[in-house]
């Protein structure tokens, strides 16, 4: 069988398939569908410092080949996570990446410093798309300067590898990626959801309690793939691609444009075993074509440019 290992430099994965933050809970919910050690790793639900309730419902609306969510990052907070969730995850031999959230830069650093003290975390994924309530909902991901600043401090405070997760809602994704790299990021993951909206014609109200939400799923794959490619051309640090991945072929397309690993998000809702199925599909693809190491596909897209 093909060698599926993925080398992120700062982290070696059994295979290139991770699950995306917010779509895989804290992992335990999936134990009846798969073995957490059969996938490359899991990125847990976004964690703020304290527990959070999330947005008022409705929180989700389906769209053509996608969905918009405005869940609003409910979660248990770092203390509960460290005390109750982490030990469980360690029992299941899962590679765990923590998606770090914050309302304002300081909270991000608090989460990181708190978690620094606990074992069983392979890396942090800095979710720089969290709205900063004081800045009227702006987020660090919107601006190269803010990105560089928050990444630099987060890196300094972290005793673990730092992956920075980019928002697609920007004019120039390569510029933001370079800012993250300049700030000292060990890796880049992308894309988070596309800012979107849905309305109900009968009630004349937004379909989401929060008015706006984030679009994910197959609908956004073409945009995600483009951005992954652009970022791969722009930075030297490893890239984890995502956005609408539902099959092994989808995953391999992200690798072809330059991602060393991928994350599976929305597909987990439709098929709880999607991530492990995708691992198998990647293996089958490689085996059928005599590709000895899946890593050999990374970034091999040929263009005439």
């Amino acid at each position: 069988m093909a060698d599926l290992r993925a080398d992120l430099g700062f982290l070696q994965l059994r295979n290139p398939v991770l699950t995306a933050s917010g779509t895989f809970g804290y992992g335990m919910e999936f134990l009846s569908f798969l073995d957490l050690s059969a996938i490359g790793g899991i990125v847990v639900k976004g964690l703020y410092y304290g527990p959070r309730e999330g947005n008022p419902p409705p929180r989700l609306v389906e769209t053509a080949s996608g969905l918009i969510n405005a869940i609003g990052l409910p979660g248990v907070g770092v203390e509960h996570f460290a005390a109750d969730v982490l030990p469980e995850l360690r029992k299941h031999d899962a590679t765990v990446i923590v998606n770090v959230c914050g309302d304002g830069d300081e909270e991000y650093f608090q989460v990181i410093e708190f978690l620094n003290r606990y074992d069983g975390i392979a890396a942090y994924e800095l979710n720089i798309s969290c709205p900063n309530v004081k800045l009227n909902g702006a987020c660090p991901a919107m601006n190269p300067h803010m990105t560089r600043t928050i990444v630099a401090t987060a890196k300094q405070r972290s005793r673990r590898p730092l992956v920075v997760k980019l928002s697609p809602n920007v004019t120039n994704i390569a510029e933001i990626a370079r800012a993250a790299e300049d700030g000292g990021a060990d890796g880049i993951s992308l894309i988070n959801t596309l800012l979107a909206m849905a309305v109900d014609l009968e009630t004349r109200r937004p379909k989401l309690g929060n008015v706006f939400g984030g679009l994910s799923g197959p609908a956004i794959k073409p945009v995600a793939l483009r951005m992954t490619y652009q970022v791969a051309q722009a930075v030297r640090i490893p890239i984890i691609g995502m956005g609408g991945i539902c099959t092994g072929r989808d995953a391999l397309e992200f690798m072809l444009v330059g991602a060393r690993a991928v994350q599976v998000g929305t597909a987990n809702f439709v098929d709880p075993a999607a991530s492990v199925r995708i691992v198998h599909e990647i293996a089958e693809y490689c085996d059928a074509r005599g590709i000895a190491r899946v890593a050999d596909i990374v970034g091999t897209l040929e263009t005439n440019r």
Partner: protein, 263 residues
């Protein structure tokens, strides 16, 4: 909770917008309890993307049944399936009705409106088999919206029907019929399933009368197994109203647990 990508449709019945499918699936039926539901894929493609929650209408042996009404595109695709086709289902999901205490000396009243009747057949059968007394109140807008009358009756289940337009049975809402009957007698508890406004009415009635009631709620569900956090409803817990997941902590809640938003 299991995934059966190929539950076979072995029988189909249709009444206008309403459809009953009998499925064959060892995996899904073996653990099934009344009040639980399936998440059903309606297409192999990506549009619609999400599965649809559908209650277990009945289960036993390797068979199970679902009963649904066409509400939009997903249920329309389901309705287009034919005998011999296969369905990709996850289930059984959720916690279902709590039946402890409902034995031979107890009576339960079951109240279903429209498609909300779906889980009550399985529930009625199970209660009867535990020896409890069962009476079902079944309401719809008009006579064609209460197509399961004969099915309940031939299963020997005591049935009272209502229609909003009076075309069959009691003329009015099924909750009004219930209220009416509660003046004549009292069950040991009731179980209800239907649209949100009906659940609210039924819940407030139960509280007013101090009668234990279990209500099956609906919500838009992204996953059905507790990971997306889309299906939340305010539920009382430790005297606080927290958002709880309907798919995992429910869909059935006690009338005294549910917090209704003030209008």
């Amino acid at each position: 909770m299991r995934h059966d990508p190929a539950a076979r449709i072995i029988q189909k019945k249709t009444w206008g917008d309403f459809h009953l499918l009998r499925l064959e699936s060892q995996a899904l039926s073996s653990e099934a309890a009344p009040g639980q539901f399936l998440m059903v894929r309606t297409t192999d493609g990506y549009d619609p993307l999400l599965r649809r929650p559908i209650s277990l209408h009945d289960a036993g042996g390797i068979g199970l049944e679902i009963f649904f009404r066409v509400a939009g595109r997903g249920t329309a695709l389901l309705a287009a399936k034919k005998e011999g086709d296969i369905l990709d289902c996850l289930g059984p999901l959720g916690k279902g009705f709590r039946l402890d205490g409902f034995g031979p000396d107890k009576t339960a009243w079951l109240v279903g409106g429209g498609r909300g009747i779906a889980p009550l057949f399985f529930l009625a059968r199970t209660l009867l088999s535990k020896g409890a007394g069962v009476r079902v109140f079944y309401g719809g807008k008009t006579v064609s919206e209460i197509p399961l009358r004969e099915k309940f009756e031939s299963a020997g289940i005591l049935l009272d029907c209502s229609t909003d337009d009076g075309s069959f049975g009691f003329a009015g809402l099924v909750t009004t019929l219930l209220e009416h009957e509660l003046r004549a007698g009292r069950p040991d508890g009731f179980f209800a399933c239907g649209p949100d406004p009906m659940m609210e009415r039924a819940g407030r009635l139960a509280l007013r009368l101090g009668l234990p009631a279990q209500l099956s709620l609906e919500a838009i569900m992204g996953c059905g197994f507790g990971v997306c956090w889309s299906c939340v409803h305010r539920i009382k817990k430790d005297n606080e109203g927290a958002w709880r997941k309907i798919c995992e902590d429910g869909p059935v809640f006690g009338a005294d647990e549910i917090l209704w938003e003030e209008a």
